[in-house]
C-alpha cells in the first residue's frame, strides 16, 4: 500500500474572501475552510479553471466528514458533506478497490480515498461530469462489510456553494449500484445511467434508470439496454449452478453474470448494458468463454 499522498494532505489555509462588488450572499462570506482538521485529500481538475476537492474534516462526534468542494478561479465554495462520514481518521489511497460505470464496460475511478477496515470501511471518490451551463462533479461512496452499500451524488457550484443536484443510493441489502456517464448525442452534457442490481432469493434483477440534463436540472429519461445472454435455463437454481460452474472452471471469463428472469419459466445467465457489446474489446473473449452468447434488446 502506498503512503498517503503527502503533497495534498496538508491543512489548507484558505479563507473565503469577500468578492468585492459582486459579493456572494452573506452566508457565503461567513464560510471558512481554514478550520483546523480540514484537509484536502485529493483534487480533480474539472476544466475551465475549476477544481473539485475531496476533503475531510473532524466533527464533534469524533467522525470525519467527507466533503466535496468545487473551487472556481481559485475561489473556494461552501463544501458539501457526503452522506457517509468516516469513523477512522486514518485515510489511505485504495485505487484498485472500486470500479464504476456500465456493467460490461467499467472504469476504475482514481484516486479513491479509503478509511477504516471492516465495519468502519468507507471509500469515496470523485468523477468528472459534463453538464451544460454548470460546473459539477460526481461524488461516490462505498461502505460496509457484510453488506455493502453505495451512494452517488452530483454536486454543482451554485451561488458560492457546492450543492447537490442529484443523488441516488442503493438500499442496505445484497445490492450493487453504479453510475455510468455518457454523452451519446455529443451535445456537451452527460446523461446519467443509474444501474442497480439485487440478489433476490432466487432470481436477481438488474435495472437501469436514466436522467438527462436540461434547464439546469436532471429529468428522468428512458434508457435502452442490451441484454447479453450467456445461457438460458429452465429454473433459477439451474442458472445459479451454471454460474458457479463457470466461475470455477473459467475464472478468467471476466463477465459478471446475473440470474435474470426473461419470461415466465425462463431464466438467463445474463447481464445488461447501454453500450453496444459487440464493439467492446472483450467481446471476442466472451464469445470464446460463452459459446451461446447472444444479444437482444
Amino acid at each position: 500500500m502506498r503512503s498517503l499522498w503527502l503533497s495534498i494532505s496538508l491543512p489548507i489555509s484558505l479563507i473565503l474572501m469577500s468578492c468585492g462588488k459582486s459579493a456572494p450572499s452573506p452566508s457565503v462570506s461567513k464560510v471558512t475552510i481554514a478550520e483546523p482538521n480540514y484537509q484536502v485529500r485529493t483534487k480533480l481538475d474539472l476544466g475551465g479553471n475549476s477544481v473539485a476537492h475531496l476533503a475531510t474534516k473532524a466533527t464533534a462526534a469524533k467522525t470525519q466528514s467527507i466533503l466535496v468542494m468545487i473551487e472556481n478561479g481559485g475561489k473556494p465554495s461552501v463544501p458539501f458533506s457526503l452522506p457517509v462520514a468516516a469513523d477512522d481518521p486514518n485515510f489511505r489511497e485504495a485505487n484498485d478497490e472500486a470500479i464504476a460505470g456500465d456493467p460490461v464496460d467499467s472504469q476504475t475511478p482514481a484516486p479513491i480515498l479509503a478509511s477504516g477496515e471492516e465495519a468502519k470501511a468507507v471509500k469515496s471518490w470523485l468523477r468528472p461530469i459534463k453538464l451544460k451551463g454548470a460546473t459539477c462533479v460526481l461524488a461516490e461512496q462505498e461502505y460496509g462489510f457484510e453488506v455493502i452499500q453505495r451512494n452517488h451524488t452530483v454536486v454543482c457550484l451554485k451561488d458560492g456553494k457546492t450543492s447537490q443536484v442529484w443523488a441516488h443510493s442503493d438500499i442496505g441489502a445484497p445490492t450493487w449500484s453504479s453510475v455510468d456517464l455518457r454523452d451519446p448525442s455529443g451535445e456537451g452534457s452527460d446523461e446519467i445511467v443509474y444501474w442497480e442490481g439485487f440478489y433476490g432469493a432466487d432470481v436477481e434483477t438488474l435495472t437501469a434508470q436514466g436522467w438527462t440534463w436540461s434547464d439546469g436540472q436532471f429529468h428522468e429519461s428512458k434508457v435502452t439496454t442490451h441484454l447479453v445472454v450467456a445461457g438460458t435455463y429452465p429454473t433459477a437454481k439451474a442458472a445459479q449452478a451454471a454460474r458457479a460452474d463457470i466461475n470455477q472452471k473459467k475464472p478468467n471469463c471476466a463477465m459478471n453474470l446475473w440470474v435474470l428472469a426473461t419470461k415466465p419459466g425462463h431464466f438467463a445467465l445474463a447481464t445488461k448494458t447501454t453500450h453496444d457489446p459487440k464493439i467492446l474489446p472483450k467481446w471476442k473473449q466472451w464469445q470464446t468463454c460463452y459459446p451461446a452468447l447472444a444479444v437482444s434488446n
Binding site: 500500500m1 457517509v84 472500486a98 470500479i99 464504476a100 460505470g101 456493467p103 467499467s106 477496515e117 471492516e118 465495519a119 470501511a121 468507507v122 462505498e142 461502505y143 460496509g144 462489510f145 457484510e146 453488506v147 455493502i148 452499500q149 438500499i171 442496505g172 441489502a173 445484497p174 445490492t175 450493487w176 453504479s178 442490481g197 439485487f198 440478489y199 433476490g200 432469493a201 458457479a244 466461475n247 459478471n256
Partner: protein
Amino acid sequence: MPNLDGTVGINGTNKAHDVALIQVMLRVVKNDKGLPYLNANYTGVSDKATTDAIAAFQKDQKLLPVPVQAQRAGAAVGGRTAVLAPPVVAANCETEGLLGPQSKTYKNLVAGLPPQYAGVRTILGLKTVFLEQPANDATTSLHAVLNASGLNAAFGSQVVNLIRAFYDAHKIAIWVDPRDGYTRDFDKQNELYSVVVNGQHIKSNSGPGESNHNWGFAVDIGFQAFKWLKPDASIVTDDAWLQALGRANYNDFATLWNVRNQIASANGLYPTHKKADFIHLQNFDDSQVSAGHSLAAQLARVGKFKWEFSKGSYETDLGSGGKLEAVGNASQLWSKTSHPSKGLIVAAKNAHEKAAWAKLSQDQKDKLKHAAIAKLPAGTKPAAGIEPGLKVWTEADITDAMIGEAKLAIRQEMEAAEAKRDQWVPTP
C-alpha cells in the same frame, strides 16, 4: 384491527401516524356514490380536506347533531309542535370533524373498510400505513428458527422471543432470511464473498470465518410479504430488506428497522455496527469487535500455528515459532490459494526438523551425526553452527508440492477453527 392511538381532526392530537391511518381509511371507504371521502394522498398532516372528510363521513353515518334549522323545518312540516324544543342531540353524536379511538366515527370507519384494507395499521413515528399479517405467519416464522441447525441455542431462543414480541406489538411477522440468514458454514461464506461484479464483492466483503453468521450467533431477520400503502393507498408488497419502502420513504424505512432494533434490544439482541447491514442481528455488541482479529485469535486458539491479523491479511508462522508472515485473506486461506513464501516454509520445516532432533536419544543423534560426517567429501568439515545429521532446509529445496502442502495446512487450520466454533470469542 387498526390501531389508533390519539384523536384526529379539529383540535385533535393529530400525531402523524394517526392522521395517516385515518386518511387512508377515508380514502378507501366510499360514500353512497362510490366516491372516497378523502380524494387526496395520505400525508400524515391533518388539513381541511381531512377534517371535511371526517365530517362528511360522520354526516353520512348520522353521527352529528341535527342542525337547528333542520329541526325547525321538521317541526314546521309536522305542524304539531307549538313551542320548539332544544336541538335534539342523539346519544351517539360526535364532535364534527374529530374522531378518537373510542369514537363511533372511528368504529364505523373500521367497519366500513374494504376487506383488503381491514388490517391497516401504523406505528408511532411512522408515516407509512401498512397491513397487519396473519398470526400464523409469526408462528411459522418462529418454528423455522426453532428447527434451524447451527444456531446457538440460547441465541435461537432470543430470536424466537423477538419474533413473538414484534408480532404482539405491531402485527408484523418477521422472518430469518431462509437463504443466507442463519448460520453459514465457511464454504457458504466463501461463496457469498466470491460473488463479484465489476471487481467488487457485491454480496459481502466478509470472507469465511469473518462473519458472525459463521459462529452461530447471528441471523438476518427481516420482513416477508410485508404490505405497505403508497400515498394513494395502493398496496406494495415488499421484500425481506424493505427495498421498495427504502426507495419511496427512507425515513420510514429506517424507522421500521429501528422499531425492530428496539424490540431486539429488549430481548438481548444487538444490531450490527457494520454500516448498511440493517437486517442483521446478533447476541453481542460488535462496536469494538474486529472480525479479522477474532478469526486470527480463533485460528491461534484451536490450530497448530501462530496467527495474527493486520491490514486485511492473516499472518502466520506456519508452526515455526518464529516470525509471522502475511499469507492472504480469509477467502484465500479457505480456498487453498494463500501465498506462503518459500522462506516461511523453510523456517517451518527447519523448526520441525529441530523439534524432531530434540526428541531423539543421544545414541540416535550420534548415529545420524556419524552417518552425516561419513558422507562428507574427504577433508571436509561440517559447517560451523550446524549440527551434523540435522536436516537443514533452504529455499532451493522447496518444491511446488511443498507449497501446496503448506496451503493445505493453512486450510486445515481454518477447518479446525470452523469445527471448534463454540470456542470463538469476539475479539477487539
